[in-house]
């Protein structure tokens, strides 16, 4: 059974190293998904953790200042001011009314400092105004 001992030892070493790497990494890179209301409830913890906050970009709130973009993120009447000063240009989909995901840290000044912004179009399917009084909606014919 000695040779199986060797195998077992090697396997334990390999798996142990991986588990150690994985668990050490989790604490360094974890990011919390939070809604705006949850951020408000987090209290002081909000300032320590990396957060990812989702919401809609309030229409007309996007302001470009030198090297910095500020806008309001809205979710159910709750608003959060976000400042983005990352080096990458904002995504093409980022504009008024888009759903955005801000990745960064909450500042003591009440402004969310984002290091990354992701955005997607609010709704893909909208009939252009004036073409039809009511937009055709899908109906399911077979079921």
């Amino acid at each position: 059974m000695k040779k199986y001992g060797k195998f077992a030892a090697l396997i334990v070493v390999v798996l142990g190293a991986l588990i150690w790497l994985a668990s050490a990494g989790i604490n360094e890179t974890k990011t919390y998904y939070k809604t705006i209301s949850e951020v408000d409830q987090m209290g002081d913890r909000a300032y320590d953790e990396r957060l990812r906050v989702a919401g809609d970009v309030e229409s007309g709130s996007i302001q470009h200042t030198s090297g910095r973009v500020e806008f309001m993120l809205v979710q159910d009447k709750l608003r959060l001011k976000v400042a983005y000063s990352g080096s990458e240009p904002l995504p093409d989909t980022f504009r008024d009314g888009a759903q955005a995901l801000a990745d960064g840290k909450m500042g003591r000044d009440g402004v969310f400092h984002a290091s990354k912004i992701q955005a997607k179009c609010a709704s893909k399917y909208e009939a252009k105004p004036g073409q039809l009084r009511r937009a055709p909606a899908p109906i399911n014919k077979t079921t």
Binding site: L15, A22, G25, T29, K30, K34, D92, T93, Q131, A137
Partner: protein, 670 residues
């Protein structure tokens, strides 16, 4: 039209159910005609699925905007190729495509095995039929591709559709989903054979021999799909990366990892009769990971940049996987005695052991990726907080795993079965080992300080040399014996044992890809707002903007910068990064300008217009060695194709076997 499509789908569902029932009942009651009718039902399902798909594709191409699916994923100004590609560009269509592929595979399996494996085939048809039925339930009752647009129950067409997602309007992307799907769906076949052989307690390794080619081809499609996805990300997404550990990317990697493990461990079963349970587990795991991958991309379980619509699909997939996994686990446990191993591990430094560790590492990485991908879901279930892990975490874990695997690629195939002598270790590894140490020393002197890059380059050289020496030794022996030149001898050598030398080629491809991955340690980048005449220095390049234009066509409007790339007063090339804005879907995309070279790529992305609308935001990158990833990918594909060619030796061997039998029979009358 739409009624024909819906009806075909509905009929296909009924016929698929019939195929399952008839095959299994026919097998149990030993009624040959029932079994045959089950097999014919498989063909009928294919015909019906083809009709349904044809209706949808016809609608897409002719622009029948009464179809909700057509209105969402096609428009009039799109090129024909993308109108066709819209078949798999959206939720409903891509699931229809999945179903259609499965029906095609099933028909091919039934046809090619019409005189073989009579004992097993009814269950193969049964398993495939169950999977087909599941997808047809989705096609028919959950996400029907034949929903119509209507105002007050009156079917109405919209004037024009939204068009295919512009990010998908790119040639590599048009064929990337079919490639991945061919890979995903293909694993249903080895799985079906494995289960059928378990149910019928087949003696020997018939299911492995029969499905070896299937598995390889499927694996090849998956590899191609992943590579195309990486190439697409690199050329279209404009952030300069090829892999971001996005949930959907991970979903494609998971079955690839376990499939790779499976391809290796079946050799243990074929040659030594070991790891039988393990292979069953692996093939089932791979199949369910394929289903899991499909569900991940289709249900929005984990939020992703690929951002597919959330839908009611999740619970169907979860139910199907839960039942399927439970049934598979029960079956394997029930048949454990039949899967007993025929030999034992003997030494830590042996081929068996290298396979064991290869599997351990591949599975560990597979589990790590799965864990990281599902971490938001897991953490929410455990602590109530949704926590995501990002690229940093994945890289931290996967780089060491990848390097260890890279090392195994080199040493594993050269270990002897059972145990390896010190002498053979020295013969095989002395030269590559010394060369690798010298290379690392040289790089250190040259100023490379990245730890992982040093290790990676060292391993790459080590593995490449061991593989080349293997080729050289074999080819040299043949060349001397048959008086051939070395090149012909190499081809002869490869042809004699295509599996072995094709495998070496695949390993070589992996080495080349790692060279490319390692280049990422030396990336350089800069961003600048530029107007015509401005310059930007990056590395030893000078970038000069010479023109900035805007214009539009029917499909999209665009801004385009013309940038000259200079080095040391010499004009190297002119790149034209472009930003497009698609009108129908109101989405923007980037067309990057790349100057690809073997040593490094110059990569320019048009980030957008500055706020005053006068200058262009240009993101400039230098990516060393990236080209080697694509070259490695091609070598990998080539190597896999070599593996698929039948070995010359084996054919001769088969012939002598037949001769022997004839002689034996010839002797009998005496």
């Amino acid at each position: 039209m739409e009624n024909v499509g819906s009806l075909a789908l509905l009929l296909a569902f009924c016929v698929a159910v019939y195929a399952v029932v008839a095959s299994v009942a026919g097998r149990l009651k030993r009624k040959a005609f029932l079994i045959v009718s089950g097999e014919r039902a498989v063909y009928s399902v294919w015909v019906l699925m083809t009709v349904a798909s044809g209706v949808l594709v016809y609608g897409l191409i002719t622009g029948d905007f009464r179809f909700s699916y057509v209105a969402q994923h096609s428009n009039q100004s799109m090129p024909l190729l993308y109108k066709f590609a819209a078949w798999w560009g959206g939720q409903e269509g891509s699931l229809l495509f999945w179903s259609w592929l499965l029906s095609t595979y099933s028909a091919v399996v039934v046809f090619s095995n019409r005189r073989k494996h009579r004992d097993m085939m009814p269950y193969v048809v049964g398993v495939l039929g169950v999977v087909q039925t599941f997808f047809l339930i989705l096609n028919n009752f959950v996400v029907s591709p034949f929903k119509m647009l209507a105002v007050d129950k009156l079917i109405t067409a919209v004037p024009d559709g939204n068009g295919l997602n512009p990010l998908l309007q790119y040639p590599a992307m048009a064929i990337h989903p079919p490639m991945l799907y061919l890979g995903y769906v293909g694993f249903a076949v080895p799985f079906a054979f494995a289960i059928a052989s378990l149910i019928t307690r087949q003696p020997g390794e018939a299911w492995i021999h029969t499905t070896r080619r299937w598995t390889l081809v499927t694996w090849l499609f998956q590899s191609c799909g992943i590579m195309l996805g990486a190439a697409w990300a690199y050329h279209v997404l404009g952030w300069g990366g090829y892999w971001g550990w996005d949930p959907v990317e991970n979903a494609s990697l998971l079955p690839w990892l376990s499939g790779t493990a499976f391809l290796h461990s079946v050799m243990m079963q074929e040659k030594k009769g070991m790891m039988k349970v393990w292979n069953m587990v692996l093939v089932s795991a791979t199949f369910f990971l394929c289903i899991f991958g499909t569900s991940l991309t289709r249900t929005g379980l984990v939020s992703s940049v690929h951002a597919f619509a959330q839908g009611p699909l999740g619970k169907y997939f979860v139910t199907f996987m839960a039942i399927g996994i439970a049934a598979t686990v029960y079956l394997i446990l029930d048949r454990l005695p039949y899967l007993r191993s025929e030999s034992e591990l003997e030494s830590v430094i042996s081929r068996e052991s290298s396979f064991l560790f290869n599997n351990l590492i591949l599975l560990a990485s597979c589990f790590a990726v799965l864990w990281g991908t599902l971490f938001p879901v897991i953490s929410e279930a455990v602590s109530g907080e949704k926590i995501s892990l990002d690229t940093v975490w994945f890289n931290k874990l996967m780089i060491p795993i990848g390097l260890f695997l890279l090392l195994l690629t080199g040493v594993g195939p050269l270990f002897a079965w059972r145990r390896t002598s010190v002498d053979s270790l020295r013969r095989n590894f002395q030269i590559p080992g010394i060369a690798a140490v010298v290379l690392v020393g040289g790089l250190l002197v040259a100023g490379v300080r990245s730890f992982y890059a040093l290790i990676s380059f060292g391993f790459c050289l080590f593995v490449a040399l061991t593989v080349l020496m293997e080729f050289y030794r074999g080819a040299h022996a043949i060349a001397v014996k048959n008086q051939m030149n070395l090149l012909r001898a190499t081809i002869e050598l490869t042809h004699r044992n295509t599996r072995r030398y094709g495998g070496y080629l695949v390993h070589m491809g992996i080495v080349l890809m790692f060279i490319g991955f390692t280049g990422a340690a030396f990336n350089q980048s800069d961003v600048k707002e530029m107007k015509t005449g401005d310059t930007l220095n990056l590395g030893h390049y000078q970038l000069k903007m010479v023109d900035l234009q805007e214009n539009e066509n029917g499909n999209y409007s665009w801004h385009r910068a013309t940038v000259q790339v200079w080095r040391g007063g010499e004009l190297l090339s002119t790149l034209e990064p472009e930003k497009r804005f698609y009108k129908a879907s109101r989405q923007g995309t980037s067309e990057v300008g790349v100057r690809p070279r073997l040593n490094e790529d110059v990569y320019l992305n048009f980030g957008g217009m500055s706020d005053d609308g006068q200058r262009a935001v240009i993101q400039a990158y230098v990516f060393p060695l990236v080209s080697w990833i694509w070259i490695g990918g091609l070598v990998l594909i080539g190597g896999t194709l070599v593996c698929l060619v039948p070995s010359k030796i084996k054919m001769q061997y088969a012939r002598t076997e037949v001769l022997g039998i004839t002689r034996k029979y010839a002797e009998v009358p005496k």
